[in-house]
Each structure stands twice: as structure tokens, then as C-alpha cells.
């Protein structure tokens, strides 16, 4: 379940696909999401993978800390619905990822935080927050677009990610839509795009250059090309008709007890447990 907590954002990224002209979803939406989750959980078949809950969508989730906390209490608190404990993660551009905020979320059971470092142009202040987060939230991931102008900085930061305790580096192929098309065309005059299910920006080989370097230097985190091929499976009907066998794809982390524990270690290598 992807939960769009709000539409406000404190950044304006060139490649952002969101149209910032809608209203926030409000309490009625939150009630519906919680009810849907409560209804869906008992229907999960035995042996089904752990449910995944992500706070994301358009805006910056940490601008909606109270809403996120309310969801966490509902999904993970003492009155949570019966059934398997979900894997809960949150996206952020990191500008508001202060230690006290992260501690509040970690204490409520947040499993993973994903930093979109490109949003701040890999700002030193956000990198410091990422390092702090690795001591608070069980799993820290960097999830940032494969944006060609970020190429040098991203490659330069690979050792830092290893040192800071990043476990997963997800590089999302930039999706081109009606909102960002003109901005991208103005910024990257020679940009090349291609159709998968949606329209995507060719990254000039950035992701695979990153993978090659990570493998060469033995950094301990996974790297994912979160490309058009991933999006079409994630968003299309194919996986419902024929779920591919993904055993061993993702890292296994021990299930946390309610609101407890931090700093678990991966039991096996693999990508972030995003299902």
C-alpha cells in the first residue's frame, strides 16, 4: 500500500512528476485507508509475503509527521489488526529528517527510511541527517532519480553511502509526464526518452556505471535499476496474472517487536524489501 500523505513539498525538483495544485487528502481519506488495511489484512493467505506500507506520493511526507504517526499507531500499535506485521517505510527528501522526528517514527515502528538525496542536490546537511538516521531507523536507503546532471556527485558519494550505513541504493529512472516534460526539455536539451508503459528518460548508462563501481569496490549495499521495466510490472496487471518468482530477491530483516529494537542486520543480501 502506497499512502500519499500530502501534496505539499519544500522542494521543486526539475524532474518531479507531481502537479502541486491539488488539496491534501484530509482525515476522511486517512479513515478510508486505515479501514481498507484492516479489511485486507485478514484476507492475506498463509505464507503470503509481508504486507508493505509506504508513505510517499507527491509531497514531502515529513511535512505530515502527525499524520504519519497516526498511521503508524494504527498499523503497528497495540490495537493493530491481527495478521502479519507489515514492512513500513517512508520517503523523504531529508530536509526535515531531524533526529527527534526520526526517533519519534522509529519508536512507533518505522522500518525503513528512503532518502531522495537528489532533491537537495546531495546537500551536506542532508547527508549528515542520513548518517544520523542510520543509527535510529533500522534500514536506511537512498532512492534518487537517475538524473544525468547528478552523475558526478552520485558516483563521488558511493563510498560515503557505504560508510554511513546505507543498505540499499535504488536509482529510479526519471518518468517524463505532462508536468515535467517542458522543464526537462529546457534543462537537458539533448535528452533522449523512450516509451515503456510510461515515458522514461534514458540515463546515459548512469545506473549501470554505479552498479559496476559498487561491485568493483565491494560496497555492502544493493543497487537497483528502478527502470521502466520495473514500473510496468509494478503498475500493470502482469504480476496478478503471473506473479514472478522473487524468492531471494530482497534482503530479509528480522521482524521487530512492537516499537522496539533498532539496528537489525540483514540476514541475507538483496534489495530493499519492497515486495
Amino acid at each position: 500500500m502506497f499512502i500519499p500523505v500530502g501534496r505539499s513539498c519544500n522542494r521543486r525538483c526539475v524532474y518531479c512528476t507531481t502537479r502541486f495544485d491539488g488539496a491534501d487528502s484530509g482525515p476522511a481519506f486517512m479513515r478510508r485507508v486505515k479501514a481498507r488495511y484492516r479489511a485486507a489484512l485478514p484476507r492475506l493467505s498463509r505464507g503470503a509475503p509481508r504486507p508493505k506500507i509506504a508513505f510517499t506520493g507527491g509531497g514531502e511526507p515529513l511535512l505530515y509527521l502527525d499524520e504519519v504517526a497516526s498511521y503508524l499507531r494504527s498499523f503497528l500499535g497495540p490495537r493493530r489488526p491481527r495478521g502479519p506485521r507489515p514492512w513500513v517505510y517512508l520517503y523523504t527528501n531529508g530536509l526535515h529528517a531531524t533526529a527527534d522526528r526520526l526517533r519519534r517514527l522509529a519508536d512507533l515502528g518505522l522500518d525503513e527510511i528512503r532518502f531522495h538525496l537528489g532533491a537537495s542536490d546531495f546537500a551536506p546537511a542532508v547527508r549528515r541527517r542520513l548518517r544520523v538516521a542510520a543509527g535510529i531507523v533500522p534500514v536506511v536507503t537512498v532512492e534518487t532519480p537517475a538524473w544525468p546532471p547528478h552523475r558526478r556527485r552520485l558516483l563521488d558519494l558511493l563510498p560515503f553511502f557505504a560508510d554511513a550505513g546505507v543498505r540499499h541504493l535504488n536509482i529510479g529512472e526519471v518518468q517524463v509526464n505532462a508536468v515535467n516534460l517542458a522543464r526537462i526539455a529546457a534543462r537537458l536539451l539533448g535528452a533522449e526518452v523512450y516509451h515503456v508503459h510510461l515515458l522514461h528518460l534514458y540515463d546515459g548508462g548512469l545506473v549501470y556505471d554505479v552498479m559496476e563501481r559498487v561491485a568493483e569496490r565491494g560496497y555492502p549495499y544493493s543497487v537497483l535499476d528502478c527502470s521502466g521495466f520495473v514500473k510496468q510490472i509494478q503498475r500493470g496487471p502482469a504480476a496478478d496474472v503471473w506473479p514472478p518468482d522473487v524468492d531471494g530477491l530482497c534482503a530479509e530483516y528480522p521482524e521487530r517487536r512492537d516499537g522496539a529494537g533498532r539496528g537489525p542486520r540483514a540476514l541475507a543480501g538483496g534489495g530493499a524489501p519492497c515486495g
Binding site: V176, N177, A178, L181, V193, Y194, H195, V196, H197, L198, L199, F229, Q232, I233, G236, P237, A238, A239, D240, V241, W242, P244, D245
Partner: protein, 328 residues
């Protein structure tokens, strides 16, 4: 059945494409074909919001193993027709306000056999034709059928309604001689007659043997559709084709073992006059997805020109290789 990787599936497809002399890749590589396609195919490659696929009904007089729809699908609600009409009028107004010509195609298809619903088709056609502006380009109207009911009276009625093209799904009857006669009857009545049938490996021999006859019958377009696997047909296909290989695209598709490209190569080598299209997952992904509404390649010259098709249909068409060279 076996799931193969997208890399394996696409590498196979690209190798097969490379082996067909004169093959054209249009719509940024999505549309692999020889010869010009039906005008009704154009909207699949352009952001044409005003075009409509109209599911007239869910009953069918065929039982194809590969049919992707549920055999217990309910009939479309009676309100569907009025909703389609209202939507069409909105789209038409928007298109005209934007200085565009309006929809490029209206097609009757979807789930059941459209010729079981001739009265419904007639009602829709009366509505759409009533909105045409004299002198302005009109949509290309086509209908799909398995051909069982496409006898001379039915075809005459469709032509009188203003239909431009009939697409025969010959695989539904295992390419029966009776339905092939119906194709001939249609070719004498309509500006374009197409064969649109799945690239179903058990049909390989029958299809390849039929190609010269399709040419002689006056078929203008052969669209070979990659079989889409759904939860409805998956068990049937697994039972019928236990060694089948499928791959995940936006949906799940059956690798045809190279059938579509064999037909293309044969059409080129023997100078058949019909076009051949690999209506594959790459087409479906483009046709159904939002990507083409953001940016698309122009497809001028991809399809036959509907304005001259009536005249061209009465004259012998050039072989596909020659037509491919002349494309813009």
C-alpha cells in the same frame, strides 16, 4: 508453461525482426510491420482521445482456447450506449475546439461476437454518422468478427450502415472454408478487409498455407496479435500448450515462436499485397498506456489513406515490399 525473462523475449523478437527484409519499425520501434497498415490502426500510435473501441456485447458463438475474456462476462449495462454517446460528443467538441479533425476511428469489438449484435451496431452507427460534418474527414469505421455470421446479407447491412472495414478473426474457426468464403464476399463490398487473428502457435501451419489465398481473396491487412495471457485463459493455454513460453510486459504475453515474422518474411518473399503487423506486447503497451499522450513519434505514412482506399481497393495493390519502399 514457462516464464522467460523480458531480456530473452525481446532479444528473440529483435533477432526475428532483423531477419525480415524490408521490415519497417515505426512509432519509435513499437510497430514492426511490412506494408501500410489499416487506417483503423493509426489511433493506436497517436494520442487520439476521441477514438473509440465499442464493446457491443459479451455473448460469443466461438470458444477459443486463447480468448482473454471471461466466458461468464456480463452483458454491458444498458446505460453504456448513452455514456459512450455522451463521452463521444464531449470528445468531439474538445477535438473541434482544439482545431483537430475529431476521431480517426470507431471500432466495434470487445469480448463477444459483434455480429450477434447487429441492431446495436446499427444504432451506434446511426448516431456516429449523424455527427459527421459534410466535407470534413470522417472516422474510419471497422468491426471485428469471427466471420461465422458474416454472410452476404449481414455484410450488405454493415456496408449500408457505413462501415469501412471488416476484420476477420479466422483462428476462431480454425480457418474454415466457409468463413474464408465470407472474407471473399466482404472483400468485394468493403474498402478494406483484414485478417486479425492471434499468433497462436498451433495455427502456424494453417496460417502459413493460407497466405497465398488471403492475397488472392483481396485481404489488405494481416494483423497477428500476440496472445495475451489473463487469468481467464491461463489454465486453458497451459493445458493446450504445456511447453508454452510467456513473458511479463505490462501484461503477460505468449512468445509465438517466430510465427508473426515468418508470415512477414513470406509476404515479402512472395510479394503478397497485404500488410503484416506484429501486434505484440510492444504495440499494446503503447496503445493502452499514457506515455504516448506525453510525447510520440509522428506516424505519417504508416497507414493506408482512407480517402483513397476505396479507389485503391478496386485496383490491384502493389506488393508489400514495393509499398514499404514508398512509405514516408
Amino acid at each position: 508453461m514457462r516464464l522467460i525473462s523480458i531480456q530473452e523475449a525481446l532479444e528473440r523478437k529483435f533477432r526475428r525482426q532483423a531477419a525480415v527484409p524490408g521490415l519497417r519499425l515505426d512509432a519509435a520501434g513499437r510497430c514492426a510491420h511490412v506494408g501500410r497498415l489499416s487506417p483503423g490502426c493509426r489511433a493506436c500510435y497517436e494520442p487520439d482521445l476521441a477514438s473509440f473501441f465499442i464493446p457491443v456485447g459479451s455473448r460469443c458463438n466461438g470458444r477459443c482456447a486463447y480468448c482473454p475474456t471471461s466466458r461468464r462476462a456480463p452483458e454491458p449495462p444498458p446505460s453504456l450506449a448513452s455514456r459512450i454517446r455522451a463521452q463521444f460528443e464531449r470528445n468531439l467538441r474538445a477535438a473541434r475546439a482544439a482545431g483537430r479533425a475529431g476521431p480517426s476511428r470507431i471500432s466495434f469489438t470487445g469480448g463477444g461476437e459483434p455480429l450477434l449484435y447487429l441492431d446495436r451496431v446499427a444504432a451506434y452507427m446511426a448516431f456516429f454518422r449523424g455527427l459527421e460534418t459534410p466535407g470534413a474527414p470522417r472516422p474510419w469505421y471497422w468491426i471485428s468478427t469471427n466471420g461465422r455470421l458474416a454472410d452476404a446479407p449481414a455484410l450488405d447491412r454493415l456496408r449500408a450502415m457505413g462501415l469501412d472495414e471488416v476484420r476477420f478473426h479466422l483462428g476462431a474457426t480454425a480457418f474454415s472454408a466457409r468463413v474464408c468464403r465470407h472474407v471473399e464476399l466482404a472483400a468485394a463490398r468493403f474498402p478494406a478487409v483484414s485478417v486479425e487473428t492471434p499468433a497462436w502457435p498451433p495455427h502456424r501451419r494453417a496460417l502459413l498455407e493460407l497466405l497465398p489465398r488471403l492475397d488472392a481473396m483481396g485481404v489488405r491487412h494481416l494483423n497477428l496479435q500476440e496472445v495475451e495471457i489473463t487469468r481467464h485463459n491461463r489454465p486453458r493455454i497451459a493445458a493446450r500448450q504445456p511447453g508454452a513460453e510467456v513473458y511479463l510486459s505490462h501484461g503477460v504475453f505468449l512468445d509465438d515462436g517466430g510465427l508473426a515474422y515468418e508470415c512477414m518474411a513470406e509476404a515479402v518473399a512472395r510479394r503478397f499485397r497485404f500488410s503484416v503487423l506484429d501486434c505484440s506486447s510492444l504495440v499494446k503497451q503503447y496503445q493502452r498506456a499514457p506515455g504516448k499522450f506525453v510525447a510520440h513519434r509522428r506516424v505519417d505514412g504508416l497507414c493506408d489513406d482512407p480517402r483513397v482506399l476505396g479507389r485503391a481497393a478496386r485496383e490491384p495493390a502493389a506488393p508489400v515490399a514495393a509499398r514499404a519502399r514508398g512509405m514516408g
